[in-house]
Symmetry: C2
Subunit: 331 residues, 2 copies
């Protein structure tokens, strides 16, 4: 197993990215190829730390966060994210992770590896903690507008992902809408409802926003605009609530006493709702494995994303996904 890491992508790159990669190499025993400015990257690593698991692939350029993905990839032929996917294409790595420009990661994956047979547009999935466990939300930002067939494909791909990667048998799929009735919502979701209903996958119907944190279903399908807004709303809400609780407790002496008693439960609680624990958002629909990390990823987030990418490979999600796409007629 060798994971290509876009060492130059992300708000805290390359330092945090390299630290996370080193942690993954030593913690999970995964080989890593750091893609980027080799001299700079080597300077960030103790030889002892590397333990023979860290490799380098030098390149000069990086796609910046504010660049147009396609233009940047055309102009910078050896941008780190493109080179990373090239390693996968040539069998030199099994997967890519990047905390860089997510549009560029998606574009480089499609341009270099291509799409799975029949897939119109790949989607970005994310795993969110819920009251009961976790839920796969797809798409969280790859496609701001989606045709009904694309929403259906997201569901089929996420089904394979949830089965193989999360080990959920016959995952329940919900379509995100503004009401449960099938007449609700816009044209796009009403048509997608019909496609899901006519298929043989475990479609439970429309779900609403509250079903995501409650964990009513295993998979929630929506377009990338809605999904991205929902994901960031939940992240912000969790952060705000933890702050509000702490402020509320600091207002009274019994609260402050409670806060002392609470350190460990609060930490457990935070960890449970911390998206960094879930290690990045896998790309579904490309012929290979790519995992997108938050731009602000810490070393821990990078480490966990590398682990996610490795599991994505070992659980053979891609094979299952191709099969499902064919079977469902979506592919």
């Amino acid at each position: 197993m060798n994971i290509a890491v876009d060492a130059m992508g992300g708000d805290y790159a390359p330092e945090m990215v390299v630290q996370g990669a080193v942690e993954a190499a030593s913690g999970f025993g995964i080989d890593i190829t750091l893609v980027g400015d080799e001299n700079r990257l080597r300077g960030l690593i103790d030889k002892d730390q590397a333990q023979g698991r860290i490799f380098f692939r030098h390149c000069e350029h990086v796609v910046e966060m504010d660049e147009s993905p396609l233009k940047a990839l055309r102009k910078k032929k050896d941008a780190s994210i493109g080179v990373a996917f090239d390693l996968v294409k040539h069998g030199l790595a099994d997967a890519v992770i990047s905390a860089g420009n997510s549009g560029a990661t998606l574009a480089a994956a499609v341009l270099t590896l291509g799409r799975l047979e029949g897939v119109e547009r790949p989607g970005i999935a994310t795993i969110l903690p819920t009251e009961r466990g976790c839920v796969v939300l797809i798409d969280v930002g790859a496609n701001v507008d989606c045709r009904p067939g694309q929403l259906f494909q997201f569901g089929v791909m996420a089904q394979a992902f949830a089965c193989s990667f999360l080990g959920i048998k016959d995952p329940r799929i919900g379509l995100l809408n503004i009401g449960e009735e099938k007449t609700k919502g816009n044209e796009q979701v009403r048509s997608a409802y019909g496609l899901f209903q006519r298929s043989d996958i475990n479609f439970v119907g429309n779900v609403e926003g509250r079903d995501i944190p409650m964990g009513t279903v295993d998979i929630v399908v929506c377009d990338g605009f809605v999904g991205n807004v929902v994901l960031k709303t939940i992240e912000g809400n969790v952060e705000s609530m933890v702050k509000l609780i702490e402020n509320e407790l600091m207002r009274s002496s019994s609260g402050r006493t409670a806060l002392e008693l609470l350190r460990r439960p609060i930490d457990r609680f935070r960890r449970r709702l911390d998206y960094e624990e879930y290690g990045g958002a896998p790309l579904l629909g490309v012929k290979g494995v790519g995992v997108i990390c938050h731009g602000e990823s810490s070393a821990k987030a990078i480490r966990n994303a590398i682990n996610t990418a490795a599991q994505y490979v070992t659980t053979r999600v891609l094979e299952k996904m191709s099969l499902q796409l064919k079977k469902s007629g979506a592919g």
Copy 2:
């Protein structure tokens, strides 16, 4: 001040609705006209409670939750929600509140009172608690698809609402998108961005999901599909988090001790994040005042919505809104 209450609308109508109305009448000194099955409604009220503030307007029908709003209103000429808005039209009430079919409330408002000059489509606004205070989110369900001009109008109307109703001077308006850059998002929000930018209102640019709970701006504008999903996601997330915290605490004896100490802060915290405290979602863009309540509204939610409706009237939001619409060129 007399508020017409659709006594037959809502999952717990008429009992909870009547109880909330009685509480509002005695607690806030607001006159109430209960619209619905008079005999049944009278049976729910002690004469002592009414204190001369509760009036009745009998009607036979109600628009059920699962009915198509326009069809139902055409068929049931004396449905409670239509009759309630009729009272406003004829000067017999100052505003309407309803926990019934929200599409029917919107439709009855538009059919009976009409739209403010220049308004293409009214929107439903909601006030959400944030880290720093509160934020107005518009639209939360009236329009599943919006043209850019409609999004702009929502911003202008919400500006007047935030000024008059919430007393915020020069409220900051953000457009909900999947990134801050103005090139982000779909065609609809990119065009709306231009309209906001060229206007003289206090537009701070695109905001992301996390800005809603963080309270980065005073007003967040989006289409009704996205807004409805966001609203319900936040509601569900708050509920789930309170449950998770309590479960976490119950796992250890120090946690259980803390939970005892915490009862009051947790109650304060719950109250702070409880949408029922904010009393319903005002309709913006009709020639009159209507407030939409959650179908599952408790008596408290109804009471607070009646108070919201009364404040909406006394703070002269409508005048300010008409003025703003003209001034901004949106009307």
